[in-house]
Symmetry: C2
Subunit: 375 residues, 2 copies
Amino acid sequence: MQTELSRKLGIEHAVFGFTPFPAVAAAISRAGGFGVLGAVRYTAPDDLARDLDWLDAHTGGRPYGLDVVMPARTVEGPKDQTLTEADVEAMIPEEHRRFVRDTLAAHRVPELAEGEASGWRITGWLEQVARTQLDVAFDHPIRLLANALGSPPADVVARAHDQDILVAALAGSARHARKHRQAGIDIVVAQGYEAGGHTGEIATMVLTPEIVEAVDPLPVLAAGGIGSGPQVAAALTLGAQGVWLGSVWLTTTEAELHSPALTRKLLAAGSGDTVRSRALTGKPARQLRTAWTDAWDDPAGPGTLPMPLQGLLVAEAVSRIQKYEVEPLLGTPVGQIVGRMTTERSVQAVVDDLTRGFEQAVDRINRIAGRSGQS
Amino acid sequence: MQTELSRKLGIEHAVFGFTPFPAVAAAISRAGGFGVLGAVRYTAPDDLARDLDWLDAHTGGRPYGLDVVMPARTVEGPKDQTLTEADVEAMIPEEHRRFVRDTLAAHRVPELAEGEASGWRITGWLEQVARTQLDVAFDHPIRLLANALGSPPADVVARAHDQDILVAALAGSARHARKHRQAGIDIVVAQGYEAGGHTGEIATMVLTPEIVEAVDPLPVLAAGGIGSGPQVAAALTLGAQGVWLGSVWLTTTEAELHSPALTRKLLAAGSGDTVRSRALTGKPARQLRTAWTDAWDDPAGPGTLPMPLQGLLVAEAVSRIQKYEVEPLLGTPVGQIVGRMTTERSVQAVVDDLTRGFEQAVDRINRIAGRSGQS
């Protein structure tokens, strides 16, 4: 499974795997794919440096990448003023804080211990946090830098190119993809409606070829709804030069969810058990549908706040829900492909399944095309 | 492009085309695909008989099918009582009738002339109307009978099978597809989120293989987001035995929209210009987003009524909007593929483009799979 892009990166399969877990990213690269570590959960630059050092030692010399989140514009502060986390916290209405407390109380969610920090923070959404992450990243031999929201700033693109690092950005529409191209990025990730995390409304089947044509000749990775070999083959048939998978790694044996209850929920969920909700970050993101997303999406409630207010508002609550595994509220970003995630497997087993299924799908389409002698 | 199903039906391409226009259905069959005429707009059985007679004379002996709408359950009437259209009309609240009048008045939509009947009725949704359509259909050499909502009743399936007619049903989830199989149908149409008309939430990329596995070995047609050769190839790669296309025919030269303004809107619309709304029938159906759908989807309005009340409520209004081409309100069911419909072409040109694009896509995936010597 080789495309111009996979050859350029020197990888065996055009399979890009996004994950918040270093062990998963390393295993993806070792299996011949391209592991991309999500940086948003790192608030301390030292933690990111430590994990990138670990990656350098465990990818077997294979290339890997880093995904940061730098929304082009988040909170409108007074001109030229850098907003701190405290500034943003102060913008959160008391009504919303009360709704968080009441919803947690209704489900008897215990408090964190005194002095125990929220393990799940969303301060990575702030540009200044992303920039400290970038300083760390540029000290490591990353081959790809992806930005999950909006185009990265021009100086970041220039710095990456100076170090021969490819820059990727996610897009949910052809218009966004064209903006990325104008910003000088190298790869567009076409993120379909069915994908986990932040998505637009246009499904992968329509979005992929639309973005391929919009940014030609830039390479496009297809994301959303991909978790089997035939789906990989379909995405590449649509003109993508690779696939970008996030959800399928969540139930691998290398994943560090640290929550047996959440793993059980993921393994049990069907393709109809996700929802595109603003509950997590303030922008629509696909995730497991839970009593928590229902509460935020309920017209009778206060509704969600814009990014990054919503993320800050719910950070501690999400940590408590996760720590105590309060099942009705327990969720995670994940795509509609969750219906296919029914057993825990190693990353290598997932990649083997993808590549074997890809070959079988190519056999199938050749038979349909009357080229059966060729497969 | 041959699958087990296309061979069984004796067609050249595994491309099934759904359309409300006999001229389009005939042209699809003549071009080597399989034309399926939508019956919902026929209220008089004689009109349907006339158009099926015409089809018999104009398909050049190629097979064609008919699509009816028989929702399993629509309005709850007293037990064993057959509901008439008048019964259903009486269930519509005055508040909703006023909202229709006010919305039309706000956009200065003229009245129909005295005695002029609404050309666009939705009474085909009622089972008794669908049954008179079936009596007509069974007098014609149709090769396929499709049901757009729910499984067809057992006696209809039996009667079709007696006449060697294949029965198809649309499904938006694996659960619906399994119900269809239990009802004895022969083909499942997997209708993805991005499709025009009634759809569920699961996108084609995820839904197609899920339904293929759920009803194996029944053949599955993929619907939703398909309007180019690479999309046809992708759908077949996912395990479908054919594709079911509806939207792409709306802007063919054979289509009888009788509305230059609507054709212009379709040609100008992008993939993000549709919405999944209950405005048309009371069930979620993808269509052009207009001031009309916005009014019904506005939380400040009265909201929509359940099927078939909503369809009856808006039937005359939709006729007026269409007749007078009131542009802000003018819409039609159509899928996200509308973004690719940018020029008026003949049905033959569309089919040629699909088959040529399919071959190129197969070449592409063979190159990626390292089988380039074989294409």
